[in-house]
Symmetry: C2
């Protein structure tokens, strides 16, 4: 299997994508990688490293889309970027998937535009893994579609169920609808209608309130992209907020240096649950291909895990199962 | 000044409302309290307590609206409840305000129905105080109106500014719009239009992303009631989640009992920021009267602070200033 990796995506390129790609080929002996980006930059990064030259290839893409560039104009104006060239190679069947830790908006726009939609899909969506005290939930939509129709909740539920089962590895993942109360009649009109549609799914577990999110009350959380984005970014801020508060309290209490060290060690380990950098990539669900995006701060390990997630999407035929589920 | 207090609202009645009322009269020598609820229950609670009998009165209201009752049907069917009788007394001018730690939905419905709207108000709203590392922000709408029109954002901004200034005591509070990005063109159509309207206010500080909420990036946070409810309940869950995670990590690390005690003490003090029980009450802004609601778990101190917040609303003529601001 050949997976294209954006060598110039994320905050730490080309080091982390290149290192993650090497580690992936070391662990997975059948895997080949196509590193997309400026060839000279990639060759320099690979230079002197120990890797199997027969399994790591380069796709020369001289342009780079920055993390803060406007997605639609960047995709239009930079036809020779790693994102557009990597996805185009995937579209032409030259590789089985494309993964990137780059500009999420640009990746969504390019994935939708270049790969197109799967048969029957109303709108592609971004799912994101969300850490909870129970492990990992999948939050859909994480910001792609700020407003949803009731039918889109149902499609996202089906796509999320398949991704969770095939890639995150749980036979019967539950699906919950984020809402302002547990009762079916709670929420806006779209939530009431969505509840009615979702209720026909065997694995729908009802409404999930804000207080239950971090406790992992369902495996797949459904919400509109506006709420999803707020919940996602709010959650990401918790570690820094807690460290700030704990530091202030320790100073007030004149805690000894030794005890401060212990407390920070315990706190850091506890907050590690919220560390998004260790998570692999998440898919654009509903596009006619396999395109995953990782956190901008992705470590080599996160890149490696994202590559493996892409492999699982392909091997377990996630898209084929999505089409079957949506059109039955 | 005479303030009506719901003696049977919240999770700990009649103890906490009665004790909070007594403490309020002890601290504030001009204050009189009207305790609304079943007379015998209130008399029994007052019995043997040290308080100024000339300043604590009872309004016999035999019915009690439970915390989990359906708001609209409870308000309709229980005409002799503490909530409906307390608010009716306020409407008739027998007291200057009504405060309760009871069923928020029932309080909103009854406040809107019995007191009516202030001149020019499109929709009354619930504001809630939101703890941040900088202190306290005010989150509007906290769940009353799940969908907002752009003009409602502007009205809520004006009402929140006045309440923050007059009751929370900051001369020039800033107002921010919760959104998925900082730029004016971010968000749904309603956010773009609201941004345009808010931009004419001197104290509008722009869009606030999810990651900035806990850092207190604005004094007043504007959002629709759906998002507000999610953010509110999500925030309330953080202390329990953190305690759960820290406990597990301490067990894994075989931390000594002495060190566990120290760590929990520091953590509890840090998480105290998120303790909603110490906060006083928050107002239903836009109703033609002064009606405040407190957390169901309100301690006597929280009830006392809610009474004082009501006093400030009246003394500082919050409603008069709201009408002037909306109609100028």
């Amino acid at each position: 299997m050949l997976i294209a990796v954006d060598a110039v995506g994320g905050d730490h390129y080309p080091e982390n994508p290149v290192q993650g790609a090497i580690e992936a080929t070391t662990e997975h002996s059948d895997l080949q990688i196509l590193l997309a980006g400026p060839e000279e930059m990639i060759r320099q990064e690979l230079d002197g490293k120990d890797f199997d030259k027969s399994r790591i290839h380069v796709l020369h893409a001289p342009e780079i889309i920055g993390m803060d560039e406007s997605p639609s104009s960047a995709v239009k104006s930079k036809q020779a970027s790693s994102i557009t060239m990597g996805l185009s190679a995937h579209k032409k069947g030259k590789c089985q998937a494309f993964v990137s830790a780059g500009n999420t908006g640009a990746l969504l726009a390019a994935s939708t535009f270049i790969l197109g939609k799967l048969d029957g899909v109303l709108r592609p969506t971004i799912a994101t893994t969300y850490p909870t005290v129970k492990g990992t939930s999948l939050l859909i939509d994480a910001g792609a579609n700020l407003e949803l129709k009731p039918e889109m909740y149902l499609q996202f539920a089906k796509m999320g169920t398949i991704f969770y089962r095939e890639v995150l590895g749980k036979e019967n993942p539950t699906v919950g609808l984020l809402n302002v109360g547990e009762e079916p009649e709670k929420g806006k009109e779209e939530h009431k209608e969505a509840y009615g549609l979702l209720n026909d799914m065997d694995n729908f577990s009802g409404n999930i309130e804000g207080k239950d999110i971090l406790f992992g009350k369902a495996d797949v959380y459904l919400t509109d992209g506006f709420t999803g984005n707020m919940i996602l970014k709010f959650g990401e801020s918790i570690p820094d907020v807690l460290k700030h508060l704990v530091k202030a309290v320790m100073e007030q209490n004149s805690v000894t240096a030794e005890h401060q060290k212990l407390i920070f060690s315990i706190l850091s380990q506890s907050l590690n649950t919220f560390n998004y950098e260790h998570v692999g990539g998440v898919p654009f669900l509903g596009v006619n291909g396999t395109s995953l995006v990782g956190h901008g701060g992705s470590s080599p390990k996160a890149i490696k895990n994202m590559i493996f997630n892409a492999v699982q999407c392909v091997e377990n035929r996630v898209n084929e199962k999505i089409v079957a589920s949506l059109n039955k």
